[in-house]
């Protein structure tokens, strides 16, 4: 069971919003890079987010570049899962590969700052602030197996090959 606050974002938050190209010189210094997470979408996010919190977004979250640094700095910020109406393809794979759950659900009725409780096994999100409960779509089986191992690299460390 995951519990935390919702940080609400709109539609089409790109990988350039999440971690702009102008910080590419920090990509081998991840703690410094992570200080700029989502800077161009909400400059105050990094100072407010706490371990366990959620990103709650509209459609097509994470569109753009293949940079795995995008979900990586989100994970480093302590975010326990991303909830979105839809998510871009490469970002989806990258997040799961890092062991960061991405849950597809109707996020319209979740407000910024709401307390959420997510049950990954049951597939439910409870908004403790407004009392609503929603369900999220199933993560594809292959990706669940990778997520269950904590990500692709730990999956390969354990299995040495795809056993999907």
């Amino acid at each position: 069971m995951l519990r935390g606050r919702a940080f609400k974002f709109g539609d089409s938050i790109s990988t350039d919003h999440i971690i702009p190209g102008r910080y590419a010189h920090l990509r081998s210094n991840l703690p410094e890079l992570a200080k700029h997470v989502l800077e161009d979408a909400d400059p105050s996010f990094v100072s407010k987010v706490k371990k366990g919190d959620f990103i709650v977004a509209g459609s097509n979250f994470g569109l753009g570049s293949s940079r795995e640094h995008a979900p990586l700095v989100i994970k480093m910020a302590g975010v326990s899962a991303i909830l979105a109406r839809s998510v871009a393809r490469i970002f989806f794979r990258n997040a799961i590969n890092l062991g960061l759950p991405v849950l597809i659900c109707d996020t319209d009725h979740i407000d910024d700052g709401d307390e959420l409780e997510v049950d990954l096994a049951e597939g439910t999100v409870k908004d403790l602030t407004n009392g609503r409960e929603l369900t999220f779509g199933r993560i594809p089986e292959v990706m669940l197996r990778i997520l269950d191992e904590g990500g692709l690299i730990s999956y390969i460390q354990k299995h040495g090959d795809f056993k999907l």
């Binding site: 350039d16 102008r22 081998s28 293949s66």
Partner: protein, 422 residues
């Protein structure tokens, strides 16, 4: 209706060959990877993931490529250290190293490496460019690419395909960039998410390879996994001219392949098109944006940094001067393009018009260096992305357009329909 007797899309054909099984839209498959590459902004993390994975060796060093193109030459010591790390990795593993000045990874993959029917994985979203010659080429993140380097395979969900049937002749001043911007504007930045865009029709058959690469390059801007063109006589001639005629293999979808939908575009009806800030589907016609002042024009990138693009720009700028309030920056997509542009006299023409020529590479596209915008400035670029902050400053504005529109805009200092100067 799904059955083994049904025809296949290009994506299904290539992934069936790559798995040795009947791969159909929606199937999860593990496929052979024929070419895998990294570049200098995503490569260091890929190498770290590779080292952490416990995979000791590259599955195929001669088909694993390390490109130094995004921050090349390096603007900071930290990026120089990343380059050292990449060079060391290439030396230790036997991977091919493509040094700075060679060009943008996607252009070099197209010129020298990808073959029709190949499965290509790169740690860069514009890996889709090689779909222009019939390769199933797609971008992935560092973990996926690291595992593909070590295992020589990866998993895919076989995409459903959207068929884009293109007819008609391009009017003067209108080209491939206008077509792909029009398509993205029509279906939106998530209009093809998880899907393959498959191009066909009489106008596709008539297109040069350069035009096909421009279109394939930007399919990811509609969310697509891959953008596929048939491999035909034009593809064969291109590969022969590149000294690798043996790499040619004809490739076309089956007549009874199943598509999720069909989109028809008659290019004769298109006009010069521009994507406005800060999204690629925020399109308008160039003539509707007349009066929009532009401080920097950038011609280059994996989208439009090829010889044909420089030829179009030189044709418009010959004997003309850039507007005094507008800087023109040009980065050829590869050393081959640079050399051919020198030989053809295009660079002389462009420099005489006032252009600044950058080394072959990504240039200012991703906001790292070589043309970062100031607060409130607007750039009209032939690149593929215009997100807020893309060119290094969230207070700046990026418009995307064709090389023809870019050249016309450089002369007038405001967004200009190139038909006005042709």
């Amino acid at each position: 209706m799904k059955g083994k007797s049904m025809g296949k899309t290009l994506a299904e054909k290539i992934l069936s060959a790559g798995t040795g099984n009947d791969a159909r839209a929606g199937d999860m498959v593990i496929a052979r990877v024929d070419l895998v590459f990294i570049q200098d902004t995503t490569g260091p993390l890929t190498i770290k993931q590779f080292q952490a994975s416990g995979l000791k060796r590259l599955a195929n060093p001669q088909r694993t490529v390390v490109f130094i193109d995004h921050a090349a030459p390096s603007p900071t010591s930290t990026l120089s250290n990343d380059h050292l790390f990449l060079r060391q990795f290439a030396q230790e593993t036997g991977a091919i190293l493509s040094e700075l000045g060679s060009g943008v990874c996607h252009q070099l993959v197209a010129e020298s490496l990808a073959r029709p029917g190949d499965i290509v994985v790169g740690s860069d979203s514009h890996t889709v460019t090689a779909g222009g010659l019939g390769a199933f080429a797609t971008g992935m993140g560092s973990s996926d690419v690291a595992v593909a380097m070590g295992l020589g395979k990866t998993w895919f969900r076989v995409p459903e395909s959207i068929r884009v049937v293109v007819s008609g002749d391009f009017p003067k001043g209108v080209g491939a960039k206008d077509l792909i911007l029009h398509l993205i504007g029509r279906i939106g930045v998530d209009g093809a998410t998880y899907k393959a865009l498959e191009f066909s029709g009489a106008a596709v058959a008539a297109m040069s390879m350069s035009q096909r690469f421009t279109i394939a390059n930007m399919v990811v801007e509609a969310g697509a996994k891959v953008g596929l063109f048939p491999a035909d006589e034009t593809t064969r001639k291109y590969l022969v001219a590149q000294g690798r005629g043996d790499d040619y293999e004809p490739l076309s979808p089956d007549g009874d392949a199943v598509y999720e939908q069909t989109i028809e575009i008659n290019v004769a009806e298109l006009e010069p098109t521009v994507a406005r800030p800060h999204r690629m589907d925020n399109t308008a016609l160039a003539r509707e944006l007349k009066g929009t002042k532009i401080q920097q024009v950038f011609i280059g990138t994996c989208t439009n940094g090829r010889l044909e693009d420089l030829a179009v720009a030189a044709g418009i700028l010959k004997g003309k001067k850039c507007h005094p309030a507008t800087r023109l920056i040009i980065a050829p997509a590869s050393r081959q393009v640079l050399l051919e542009a020198i030989k053809a006299g295009y660079l002389q023409t462009l420099v005489e018009a006032g252009a600044t020529i950058l080394p072959a590479g990504c240039g200012p596209c991703l906001g790292l260096h070589q043309g970062v915008l100031g607060d409130g400035e607007a750039c009209l670029s032939t690149a593929n992305r215009n997100f807020k902050g893309r060119m290094g400053n969230p207070e700046a504005f990026v418009y995307l357009a064709s090389p023809a529109t870019a050249a016309a805009t450089a002369i007038s200092g405001e967004i200009t329909d190139p038909r006005e100067v042709l």
